[in-house]
Every structure is written in C-alpha cells, then in structure tokens.
C-alpha cells in the first residue's frame, strides 16, 4: 500500500508540512517495499487550484492514504469521492521518519 505524506524538505529528517495543496514535497512511501520517493510540489506557488492539482498528482501515484496537517474543503470532497483515506496530524514538529515508522507494518 502506498501512503503520501506532505513534507517540508526532501529528506526523512524533514518535518511534516501542515498544508496539503502548497506543501514543499510529497513523500510517496510504499509499505510493501519500504521505498520512499520525494516529489517536489509543482503547485507550491500556484495562484489558485493548488489543492485539486495536488490531489491529481497524489492520486496518479495510486496512494491509499494521505497524511498532512490540514486539508481544504475542496480537497476533502475530491479525496472522499476517490475513496482515499485522509489522516490529519496536528503535531507539525513530527519528523517524516517518525511517521513512516508509525505507519509501516510492525514486525
């Protein structure tokens, strides 16, 4: 299963980005293979429509869960229609490596 996490930087030591549409990087984490892919967000400085464009980017990677600090109303509706689970973490100091540790299956 693939999980998308919004990140402030392109390393596992970066913290969670509190915004979804205009986050700096998306981390696509595959729980099966343990692979991590950092995608710079092209919609970061978009004037408008950053949310739906980011949804398209994330959904095209085939993710099933998205973790971020906040989701807009438009974004929530699109994700609901795509049956993708949303997870909101209020702790923005949390590191990507810690989140990945939490979501990966326990041995």
């Amino acid at each position: 299963m693939k999980i998308a996490i919004t990140s402030t930087g392109n390393s596992p030591e970066a913290t969670l980005d509190s915004r979804f549409g205009r986050c700096s990087y998306f981390v696509i984490y595959d729980t099966k293979t343990g692979s991590m892919e950092f995608i710079p967000n092209p919609n970061r400085s978009a004037m408008e429509g950053a949310g739906p464009a980011s949804v398209q980017l994330v959904a095209s990677r085939g993710v099933e869960k998205v973790i971020s600090g906040e989701f807009g109303a438009k974004v929530k509706a699109i994700f609901d229609s795509l049956k993708i689970q949303l997870i909101i973490i209020n702790d923005t100091e949390m590191k990507i490596s810690r989140i990945i540790e939490m979501v990966s299956p326990k041995k």
């Binding site: 929530k76 509706a77 609901d80 229609s81 689970q85 209020n90 326990k106």
Partner: protein, 159 residues
C-alpha cells in the same frame, strides 16, 4: 435622488432576474458513493444495446438510503442535507430510471448530479490524530497511525 434611482434600478434588475432565473440547486450530501461505474444487463441475443441510462449520484444515494438502509424519508433527507419533498422527487426519478433500465435492458451509468462527497471523521485518543473512514464496509475502526482502537467519532463541523 441619484441614490434612490440606483436603488430603484437594482430592484428592477433583481425582480427581472427573480422572474427568469431558477433558484440554484442545493448540493446533496453523498456519504457512500458506489464503488462501481454502473450496471449492464445479461443479454441472450446479440441485439444492439439500448442507450445507457445516466443515474445521478444523488439518485443512487436516495435509493440506497430508502430501500437498502431502510430509512424514513425525513431521516434520509436530513442525511443528504435536503428537504423531504426534494428527497421524494429525487427518489421518484431514481425509481423511474431503475424501472426503465430493468424493463428495457439498458445499462445504468452512475455519474454527476449536484452533489458533494463526505465521510465520517474520527479522533484517535492515543496519538491525537484525526482521520476519516471512506470505506464503510470495514466495521472495526482502528487508528491508521498507532493501530489503537481508542477512537471517537467527531462532528463534521469541527474542521
């Protein structure tokens, strides 16, 4: 004087708009969208298939709430965020479309309609994260992060 004139003009404009423009439709809340695109009849002969019947998501939801979940129309209407007469109209149209598809052997395609999609949200007491639950079939709800079952459903308006 001029101000009065402007007010009169806008009133006139408003009244003409009110005459010719219908009230915009209220968006219907869909809490459980179908997982498939539609249905097709099993055919014996190789006849040409009739044109597909387009069923809106709100019609699908009306049928599901009334005849599958067996809710009363008032409750179902509240669930979809619309009035009971509106619900009845949607339900009527949905039943007609279903009957037409069944008797003509036409395929049904789910699409569009004045709708928006929502799902239920939960709060994990263990790691304090919020998450939603798009897949209703799964009965036991656990936190996707810490796998704790200490979760509490929260109101839609908290976000």
């Amino acid at each position: 004087m001029l101000i009065l004139f402007v007010v009169k003009c806008s009133l006139y404009l408003y009244s003409t708009y009110a005459l010719y423009m219908p009230r915009p439709k209220k968006l219907r809340k869909i809490s459980n969208a179908p997982k498939f695109k539609g249905f097709r009849a099993i055919r014996l002969d190789s006849d040409k298939e009739p044109a597909p019947i387009l069923m809106d998501y709100d019609e699908y939801e009306a049928i599901r709430l009334s005849d599958y979940v067996l809710k009363k129309q008032t409750e179902a209407a509240r669930d979809m965020g619309i009035s009971r007469p509106t619900f009845a109209r949607i339900y009527e149209s949905a039943r007609r479309k279903l009957a037409k598809a069944l008797s003509e052997g036409a395929p049904i395609i789910f699409q569009g309609g004045p709708v928006y999609f929502t799902s239920e949200w939960f709060l994990c007491r263990n790691c304090k994260c919020y998450f939603n639950h798009p897949d209703k079939e799964e009965s036991s709800i656990v936190c996707p992060l810490c796998r704790s079952s200490h979760v509490r459903q929260c109101e839609q308006d908290t976000f």
